[in-house]
């Protein structure tokens, strides 16, 4: 049986910010390959280019040079509208500070990606509630993010990232705002996605506690992947 092709292939990625004297080179020729159903950690000190790299992979930043194929699609060379559609359908996001909308209910927060894809509100909310049940938070239907603990909020954020069954989930410091045991629980959920749903996860982190969950780790430093 031949090995399946990688889900993400980034080749010689360069990205810089600013111009002239204030120009800062965030990525300096990054090569990266991530397989389907893999949990990849991107680690490194602040300013090493981790967030820039996942932003390029997720199609919300465009590289200056190089090529990034996600599921064989050169997402950053798609027209803006197609890129947005592609992102909405194939990529889920988990953020460091959860970024839940405080004025809508938890199930509405989870339903956002479905609603953006045009799924009927009723259907979207049913699917969100089912996911809440699956995450052991069925009793949180109708409540708001502010009524939840940090760990529960991050679980809502994860549910939001996977409600539309994306192939890829990018996570930016998913455990940094959580205590040790909650952080581990969150990583167990994320690892479960990889194992059960074959979702590809790219996790940016500083947190060494989550290393055991990774299938592989890339260490970034000064805009390059350390070999």
């Amino acid at each position: 049986m031949s090995p399946s092709p990688p889900a993400i292939i980034c080749t010689a990625i360069h990205k810089s910010y600013g111009k002239g004297a204030s120009r800062f080179e965030a990525l300096r020729g990054v090569d990266l390959s991530i397989g389907y159903g893999e949990l990849r950690l991107l680690m490194g000190p602040s300013g090493s280019g981790k967030t820039t790299l996942i932003s390029i992979i997720a199609g919300i930043l465009t590289q200056d040079e190089g090529k990034c194929l996600v599921n064989d699609v050169d997402i950053n060379h798609l027209p803006d509208r197609d890129k947005t559609l592609y992102r909405g359908k194939n990529i889920g996001f988990v953020f460091q500070s959860f970024n839940l909308i405080p004025t809508i209910t938890n199930e509405e927060n989870i339903a956002v990606p479905l609603l953006l894809q045009g799924v009927q509100r009723k259907e979207a909310l049913l699917r969100s509630q089912a996911l809440l049940e699956e995450f052991g938070m069925g009793n949180k239907v109708g409540t708001f993010p502010a009524q939840l603990s940090g760990g529960q909020q991050q679980r809502i954020a994860i549910a939001r990232a996977l409600v539309h069954n994306p192939q890829f989930i990018v996570c930016d410091e998913p455990t940094s705002c959580l205590d040790h045991s909650t952080g581990l629980k969150i990583m167990e959920i994320l690892k479960g996605l990889v194992v059960n749903k074959k979702t590809t996860l790219i996790v940016v982190t500083h947190d060494p506690r989550i290393i055991p969950f990774a299938d592989s780790i890339d260490q970034l430093e000064d805009g390059r992947i350390k070999q």
Partner: protein, 382 residues
């Protein structure tokens, strides 16, 4: 997503209330001040509104507005009647006369003298008695508001309105009330007394000329403007259509009084304050939610959807704010009904205030949309 946009807006209660209050205030000030202004405007040509039978008003060429009485010669009436295209023309008196009431107090009243034979030019609505009763000796008809306020008697038991059958002295001449009518309030809120033309000139202080206006009607199928031109050409007087006479009066008040400027300033202030409060708060709301708009963008929302969300939020607060403001303005109008305050709120004022509020919120929305449109979704990772 559009429903979520509304929930995001309403969920931020402080800002939501701030925006709605700002727009309500603007809507109230704009509607209420405009309604008072319109009420005052209507009072300036109330006599023209009440005297609806003629479609031509003939005046001295130097007359500037309906209250500017420059009497004509009695013979001018016959000259007007002789013009081709005139169906009828009758004399019309308007002046002020001192009335001595039963209590002995003196009150200045507006006296309208209408054609003795046809009674054309009478009040628009009789509340008590009939117009024909003016044919009785010394008969007068007084307006209802005047009879209940300035012409009423005051005793320890309360106010006794002037009633049919009561008498008074008009410039030392005996007069008897034969009817009560409803008329538009005058600009100075003086009581209005109707009587016949001959009797009005008898009541009035002696003058060489007493014909205030000639009111006339054109023949059917004749262009009234052409008839007016013909009258002016042949008599040297000025003839106006009823609408032109209203406009002449309005023009006078616009040019020679500060009313329009004062109310205009209040309306503009309402607009500016509304824009400042509501517009600024709406903008702040959008800026505070910019991260969420960026998340929507990252998750697959295109700019069109985000624009629609902002626009819907602006439209929603416009409707609520306008509704509350116009509701309070209407309540103000209802409470001021029957008082000295002039207040008139026709449909176009409702539409005008709605358009103003829409303009405030849409202009704020445009600035918000510009901000939302230019969001870089990459800020979601910052």
């Amino acid at each position: 997503m559009l429903l979520l946009a509304l929930k995001m807006l309403i969920g931020d209660k402080t800002k939501y209330i701030g925006i709605v209050l700002g727009l309500s205030f603007a809507s109230f000030i704009i509607s209420q001040q405009a309604a008072i202004l319109f009420g005052i405007v209507q009072r300036t040509f109330g006599l023209l509104t009440d005297t609806s039978q003629p479609n031509i008003w003939v005046t001295d060429p130097t007359v500037q507005y309906i209250g500017d009485i420059k009497p004509l010669k009695d013979t001018d009436l016959y000259r007007v009647r002789s013009i081709d295209g005139i169906k009828w023309a009758v004399p019309f008196y308007q002046g002020t006369i001192q009335a001595r009431l039963r209590s002995g107090t003196i009150q200045t009243c507006v006296v309208i003298g209408i054609d003795d034979s046809s009674l054309i030019g009478g009040p628009p609505l009789m509340v008590q008695g009939t117009l024909q009763a003016l044919r009785n000796d010394n008969a007068i008809i007084v307006d209802q508001v005047g009879s209940e306020t300035k012409l009423a008697s005051h005793s320890t038991t309360g106010t006794i309105p002037l009633q049919v059958g009561d008498t008074m002295e008009l410039n030392d001449h005996y007069a008897r009330v034969v009817g009560i009518c409803q008329v538009s309030r005058t600009f100075q809120s003086q009581p209005v007394i109707y009587t016949t033309y001959d009797r009005a000139t008898y009541f009035a202080p002696a003058q060489r000329k007493s014909l205030s206006f000639i009111i006339a009607h054109s023949k059917p199928d004749v262009d009234v403007k052409k008839v007016c031109q013909q009258i002016s050409k042949q008599t040297g007087l000025l003839a106006y259509t009823a609408a032109d006479m209203k406009f002449l009066t309005l023009k006078y008040y616009v040019h020679y009084t500060g009313i329009f400027v004062n109310f205009g300033v209040a309306i503009i202030l309402g607009f500016i304050i509304g824009t400042a409060i509501a517009g600024q708060t709406l903008y702040n709301f959008t800026v505070d939610n910019i991260r969420f708009f960026a998340i929507f963008k990252a998750m697959g929302a295109d700019n069109g959807l985000l624009m629609r969300m902002v626009l819907l939020q602006a439209l929603f607060v416009s409707i609520i704010g306008w509704g509350i403001g116009i509701g309070f303005a209407s309540l103000f109008g209802l409470l001021s009904k029957g008082t000295e305050l002039s207040f008139s709120m026709p449909l176009f004022l409702y539409l005008g205030s709605a358009a103003s509020i829409l303009l405030i919120s849409l202009s704020s929305a445009c600035i918000c949309m510009r901000t939302v449109r230019s969001i870089d979704p990459a800020i979601v990772f910052k």
